[in-house]
């Protein structure tokens, strides 16, 4: 079958398979069995196949293809090179896990018919796959906005609640503004010469001014989709509104399509980036990282907490991307390769552990019908499997040693350590501050994740009915296990994974760091003396010591234990309300980072019969950027309505004036 000969054909065939699955969902819209038992698992298999095809395609040279679809003089061009293969691998692997989980999760009825949700779900996956292989502006834009549209319908699944509709509207609006910027960017790249295929854009050498315009537009366009600070307000609204498997896909894979787009435009289409672009991306990344994590610390809704943490991780990815541009701008290819590897590795890790955590919140949401942290707690006893997977996710996202999060953070910090060698004076000064910000963000993410895991899974049940929370179903556990295993695998064998990233860095920056790694055991990007890290050895030593301690104590002393009421320094009546609430655990960060927030406190009056204390920390950007813009447009429209006040003589006067003006001036 020549149709499935090359990997590119296979990728397109798999994308069509997803579309067909989505269409099949429409056949029997209301039957939950048909969608969850057959379609979602089939989608998972397609995802797995996509991952395998992408894995094999990473090492092949780029393959291009022209499809019969599209505009008459601009048909769809498709291309599969190392960069797209990597992101397809990421999409396939995560989609496999999430689809399996969705098979179990969508057993419970959502707002819309299960068949429709299945349709949106698979169209969303297929459009993301097509975004990665698109090789001309039209195909890219069609795939890009189909992704935005299908994810909008997913976000507004149960559209009965008003705030879900508002979240959906905000999401699609900012996605559309981003798409407009991307369209302008392609226009700038094409600069009036030749057609709109990426091939032509690569051949064109744009002038510095056009290239800068294209880069800044791409930054705005893809930054809007990635959730970078000024344009991030949709992310904490849209992710919690969507059902959990969809939030996982949104956070894990859709944000990465924005990173893919940015890499494609900057390193591939423009080709020769200027160094100060990197500084812009670095600063934006760090501001988003710090802002994101600080806001994550004060959230009281678990899915909003994870959404803000996504902003933080995207910020770190942008910082890595900024470093790549700085090194590439100064012609240090090897260091650019290191920074790019750190960026791509962090994309991979974030995709896995964020989707794992979102799926855990999904299971918690299903078991308790409760999303706010103030009404959860003690679920580790009722849902051990979900709790331990969440613990793996928590360690990974906090960037602690045996996990994959630590490896990408390690690479990023290594990349930071090389910057003092740059010729630019100020840059050497800026980068230690940047390294400090990255370190602070990593530490803060530890704080946030302890809060997330501790408040949700540990302690006592804050609500009575949590006692009968049931464990997640088989399908859901399979999805969680797949993603947790991926996190552990990526954490323990980074050298082989970097071998995978090598062809990408070689195509984009001309250098690779794959060959310095001394065998699969040790990860030593530049040279062994400089820095090397072997996760397996560290994990083995630590495990050995723990086992030794455990056995030693059992051997020399004894293992007896008995149960009694909690000690708590002698206080007798211990109840669940005495634990820390989510606001409580976030209070130190609110105190330390006070200027970040716009705090509104409601303290009860002294004679209040039922005193209620509430405090809300809002994002200042709403009041600095979004509401002023909305008011400005409002005033402008009010101005325009003066044109249509209803008097016919005034309308005739307009026509008369236009006629005279044209007669007088238009000669």
């Amino acid at each position: 079958m020549t149709l499935l000969a090359t990997p590119l054909h296979q990728v397109l065939a798999l994308a069509c398979a997803w579309l067909v699955l989505g269409a099949l969902g429409l056949l029997r819209q209301d039957s939950v069995r048909w969608t969850t038992r057959i379609l979602y698992p089939a989608g998972a298999i397609v995802g797995l196949a996509l991952a395998i095809v992408a894995l094999s395609a990473i090492f092949d040279p780029a393959a291009a293809l022209v499809l019969p679809l599209g505009l008459p003089d601009l048909p769809f061009h498709a291309r599969l090179d190392a960069l797209s293969a990597f992101f397809l691998l990421l999409l396939g692997a995560v989609a496999a896990g999430v689809s399996v989980y969705a098979g179990g999760y969508f057993r419970q009825a959502q707002g819309t018919a299960p068949g429709l949700v299945c349709l949106y779900f698979h169209v969303f996956l297929a459009s993301m796959a097509l975004v990665m292989v698109a090789d001309d502006a039209y195909f890219f834009m069609v795939a890009w906005e189909t992704m935005a549209l299908s994810s909008f319908f997913l976000v507004t699944c149960d559209h009965d609640q008003a705030e879900i509709r508002r979240a959906g509207y905000l999401y699609l609006l900012i996605a559309h503004i981003g798409a407009i910027a991307i369209l302008l960017c392609f226009g700038a790249l094409q600069a009036g010469a030749g057609d709109y295929t990426f091939e032509n854009m690569r051949a064109l050498q744009p002038t510095a001014a056009w290239a800068t315009a294209a880069f800044l537009l791409a930054l705005v366009g893809f930054g809007a989709k990635a959730g970078i600070v000024p344009l991030h307000v949709w992310l904490p609204e849209a992710h919690p509104a969507a059902p959990s498997p969809v939030s996982a896909l949104l956070s894990a894979v859709m944000l990465k399509t924005a990173i893919y787009g940015l890499l494609r435009v900057t390193l591939d289409l423009i080709g020769s980036p200027l160094w100060w672009w990197g500084v812009v991306a670095l600063v934006l990344g760090l501001v988003s990282a710090l802002g994101g994590i600080v806001f994550a610390a004060v959230q009281t809704d678990m899915k909003r907490l994870l959404a803000y943490s996504s902003i933080e991780n995207v910020g770190l990815i942008f910082a890595g991307f900024g470093l790549t541009l700085i090194f590439h701008g100064f012609g240090k290819g090897a260091l650019a390769a290191l920074a790019l590897t750190a960026t791509l590795y962090h994309c991979l890790n974030h995709a896995f552990y964020k989707s794992l955590l979102f799926l855990c919140t999904g299971s918690v949401l299903h078991a308790t019908r409760e999303r706010s942290l103030g009404r959860l707690g003690g679920l580790i006893r009722r849902m051990p499997w979900v709790a331990w997977c969440a613990l793996i996710g928590t360690i990974a996202i906090a960037g602690l040693p045996p996990s994959n999060g630590f490896v990408s953070e390690w690479l990023l910090l290594q990349a930071f350590l090389f910057t003092p060698g740059l010729p630019q004076g100020y840059l050497n000064m800026l980068v230690p501050v940047a390294a400090a910000a990255v370190a602070l963000t990593a530490a803060l993410s530890g704080y946030v994740m302890v809060k997330f895991f501790g408040v949700v899974f540990l302690g006592q049940h804050r609500e009575a009915r949590l006692a009968e929370a049931h464990e997640a179903g088989i399908w859901e556990r399979a999805g969680l296990a797949w993603l947790a295993a991926a996190c552990i695998f990526l954490g323990l064998v980074p050298a082989t994974v970097i071998g995978l990233l090598d062809p990408i860095t070689r195509t984009l920056t001309g250098h690779g760091i794959g060959n310095f790694a001394r065998g699969w055991l040790f990860l030593a990007p530049i040279n062994a003396e400089r820095a090397s890290y072997s996760p397996i050895l560290v994990f083995a030593v630590a495990a050995l010591l723990v086992a030794a301690a455990w056995l030693g104590v059992r051997a020399f002393y004894h293992g007896r234990a008995r149960r009694a009421a909690a000690w708590d320094c002698g206080f007798p009546d211990q109840n669940a309300r005495m634990q820390d609430s989510a606001e409580g655990f976030g209070q130190p960060v609110r105190h330390v980072f006070e200027p970040f927030f716009r705090l509104e406190q409601h303290a009860p009056a002294p004679d209040d019969a039922r005193p209620r204390f509430s405090e809300s920390a809002e994002d200042r950007l709403w009041y600095w950027i979004y509401l002023p813009v909305a008011r400005a447009v409002e005033r402008l429209t009010a101005l325009v309505t003066l044109l249509q006040r209803g008097r016919i003589s005034v309308y005739l006067a307009y026509s008369f004036a236009t006629l005279l003006a044209l007669l007088l001036f238009a000669r």
Binding site: S532, Y533, C569
Partner: protein
């Protein structure tokens, strides 16, 4: 290239760390008592406490989950691994290639996370209070520690602790002003991390002021012993890091047995001196309100970043 002396050095260092840690704590308590001119508890008192606790039967709260029972061993394991990484006697340790400075900070952070989670597990008021404060101190101290280690790695342009120790100890002696800043920052961070006086009082019984003790209130028997032992091990690790970065003289370079033998007394002497110095610092300062701790650690963080800037400016 794993040499026999390296392996020997590695095992002796690990054994030394695990066994001498309570001794160091005992020595510090003795120095404190003398400085407060009251009669000091015997030097080996911590060993007796540990032995007593190991005998005792463990009492678990009804709500305690398996995490609560596993946490002490995990914490102890992580800190032992951290101790194994820090070169106290020789520099060519087999584990050098396995982990570097960033991994060390990671391991300490992992230990901190587990103790905080254990604190929150039973769901008492003080447990979560302690966990919240521990993480507050943690998220300010960890970046400062990382910056201190970065300053050293910029000087020796490598992040592996052995290379840092080698360049600082065996290269010709150079005054590094950045290390001075880093030194001050490091002391402030280690005071905060080890729950010493200015941030937290190890000997206090007033739960509301505790940070470290509040989390381990629910532990008893062998679990409490492991936690106590881990705490003293943490103090030991921090002092070894301080020695490697600021007083690396006497650490044996690769392969010579004689150097190893001589390094032991040097290490003990330096540790004794360090312990006394720690006790002195504790006597001179009073415990701060918990919301003064962020400013204290903020200055430490600032000093560490300043150290890096000074390095980039002056020593480039």
């Amino acid at each position: 290239m794993i040499s026999l002396s390296g392996v020997a050095a590695q095992f002796t260092e690990l054994a030394l760390a695990v066994l001498l840690a309570p001794l160091l704590t005992g020595w510090v308590n003795q120095c404190r008592a003398w400085l407060q001119n009251r009669s000091a508890p015997p030097l080996l008192q911590p060993y007796r406490v540990l032995n007593k606790l190991f005998q005792k039967e463990v009492v678990l709260a009804y709500g305690a989950s398996p995490l609560f029972r596993v946490a002490p061993y995990l914490i102890f394991g992580c800190l032992c691994a951290a101790a194994a990484i820090v070169p106290t006697l020789g520099t060519d340790l087999p584990l050098n290639a396995a982990a570097d400075a960033i991994a060390l900070v990671g391991l300490l952070a992992l230990a901190r996370m587990f103790i905080a989670l254990a604190g929150m597990d039973v769901g008492t008021a003080f447990g979560t209070l302690g966990a919240r404060r521990e993480m507050l101190v943690g998220f300010l101290a960890e970046p400062a520690l990382l910056m201190v280690l970065f300053t050293a790695s910029l000087i020796s342009n490598s992040t592996s602790l052995a290379t840092i120790a080698a360049t600082l100890a065996h290269k010709e002696f150079v005054i590094h002003p950045s290390l001075a800043f880093a030194g001050v920052a490091f002391t402030m961070v280690s005071l905060a991390e080890n729950a010493r006086i200015p941030v937290d009082n190890p000997a206090t019984h007033l739960e509301l002021t505790m940070i470290h003790e509040a989390m381990v209130l629910e532990y008893s028997g062998r679990h409490l012993a492991m936690i106590e032992w881990a705490a003293s091990l943490k103090l030991f690790v921090y002092s070894c890091i301080g020695l490697v970065l600021f007083f690396p003289f006497g650490i044996a370079s690769g392969g010579d047995w004689l150097g190893l033998v001589l390094a032991l007394p040097a290490l003990l002497g330096k540790l004794a001196l360090g312990g006394a110095l720690l006790a002195l610092i504790e006597m001179l300062s009073a415990k701060m309100r918990i919301f003064r701790a962020p400013e204290f650690l903020g200055t430490a963080f600032l000093l560490a970043v300043l150290a890096m800037l000074v390095h980039v400016l002056l020593e480039r």
